[in-house]
Symmetry: C2
Subunit: 315 residues, 2 copies
């Protein structure tokens, strides 16, 4: 069986793009046709979100994400559902997420669960056991984002289960938000805390890399930090990057150029709101009759920009 | 409405103990009477966990936790379900967790959801909105554990929603595991990273403390670090501590004494496995016919030790 790193390489090469689509549904941003036509509390035709029950919202999230997946699956290698937006609506929201993971994989996509989970010892193992392993876990994620604050012995259960199941993890190194500086940028032993995390992650990949040169323990590095992306690419030559913050958070294709190796491998660049809500915000608003066509146009524009402004053009 | 800090004080004073019971169910540790009597795959009377489906396991987790709650509710102020063990069994496990939260609150307990969640901006807000607020969120937690690696702007949505809803959060400061040292103990600007987090948390409570002197933004500090507990109590005089690691992880009542103020307030001390699996491990194995009686004996022993060896005896 191919490792996660190999599956990721194959998927990126097949679609010739590192574009990753984030599934971050919010009820008030959904197309009107997916919202219920009358409020369950008052019967008014306007939607009264406070009174919508979790089942109604979760069902709409499912319909929305299935259709996003239908649009993007021919063009990209992976999707990244944000677990928070499903967990917000309780177990019903998460039930729909389980179905979305399966639906995306049936369409040939890799699924990176964005949960930023972690805990100690056997509790970390419970998260890893439940969440990663496409054919061998209940959630079935191909990969999971993981928080490093609890240290090496909290990461090891994820690393081990990822290896056993040909799955991956992406460890938060340098996040896209400004406040990340509070802990990540303070200097300890002559280097920022995020570099301590970066060196740990890289060390786990050096001896365990696939033929493509990359291991299964990835790193999250925000698109909003162009300089650090280049610096970290040099420090972490065996590590796949997951780069959030492209688009609505302000990162451009030029900003993420440093995340790639010379062959256009080594990074996935995520765009969530800029793609899935392209009919409501950004350059494609009002240009299409069908909301799915705005999603498609935004996806193709992102792919074109990454190809033009980064080494991903060589894929 | 009383704030979370006030509710916590009231609950601790009413039960005269800072003991907190962790709900960390694992199927192989459950009493035989709660496991299914025949394997669904092979019909053997031994339980074949690999073939048990999530529904069966989740249902058993519910029955187990309801009975634990029945036993401990008269004696303690709060329970702390570990979300990982429910998430491990998918949305069905989490559906049962939703019911456990309600059941515990009906029995008069505060519920601290141990999820160690966090993300950036609006995603952090989605976690907070969904998870905390006993009467005003879908999950209904009175409090939630939160990871600080993403920094101040990731914590703010939790702080704000906690305040609006009379709920609380507990931010990871110094965790009970050895590997926590990897990031938490490295020295930046002359102090360990965990102290940076501690000072941030304390700063949020100083101007927003209840009449009891404590705010709603708590700190997680492991029972395995007696010296740091004392040091952090001095640095964080307005901050409630959630102290894990008592019992099976090696922390004793004497080790946690430094977590309390002179009146026995300021800390909750958690015990999970040492209580809920007291019929399978520890000093009460084989001493009772009913497994619930071992749970009761372990709870009462912990309460007595905390009263004898810490200022909680003054409650």
């Amino acid at each position: 069986m191919p490792s996660f790193s190999e599956k990721l390489e194959d998927a990126v090469r097949a679609k010739k793009t590192p574009a990753l689509i984030g599934l971050d549904p919010r009820y008030d941003m959904l197309p009107d046709e997916l919202k219920r036509s009358g409020c369950s509390c008052c019967g008014e035709s306007r939607h009264h979100e406070d009174y919508l029950n979790p089942e109604t919202i979760a069902t709409a999230f499912g319909q929305f994400c299935y259709r996003i997946i239908d649009v993007v699956a021919p063009f990209v290698s992976a999707v990244k559902p944000q677990m928070a937006f499903f967990e917000q609506y309780g177990s019903m929201g998460l039930f729909v997420l389980e179905n979305i993971v399966q639906y995306a994989q049936q369409k040939g996509l890799l699924v990176i669960l964005d949960g930023k989970r972690n805990d100690i010892g056997s509790t970390a193992a419970a998260y890893a056991d439940g969440l990663i392993g496409a054919k061998s876990s209940i959630w079935g994620g191909d990969a999971l984002t993981v928080n490093p604050y609890l240290g090496d012995d909290s990461l090891e259960p994820f690393e081990q289960i990822a290896k056993e199941r040909d799955a991956g993890i992406f460890v938060l190194v340098k996040t896209s938000n400004k406040g990340g500086a509070m802990l990540q940028d303070i200097i300890a032993d002559g280097k920022p805390v995020y570099q301590h995390v970066a060196e740990y992650v890289e060390s786990r990949n050096v001896s365990d890399a696939s033929a493509n040169g990359y291991g299964n323990i990835g790193a999250v590095v925000g698109a909003t930090w162009a300089e650090q992306l280049t610096e970290l690419r040099a420090i972490m030559p065996h590590t796949w990057f997951l780069v959030p913050g492209y688009g609505s958070q302000g990162g451009s294709a030029k900003d993420v150029a440093g995340a790639f190796d010379a062959n256009g491998l080594g990074a996935l660049v995520n765009n969530s709101r800029g793609i899935i809500f392209a009919y409501k915000t950004g350059e494609f608003v009002g240009k299409f009759d069908r909301w799915e066509d705005a999603v498609l146009a935004a996806t193709q524009a992102m792919i074109a920009r990454l190809a033009a402004d980064t080494s991903a053009g060589k894929l």
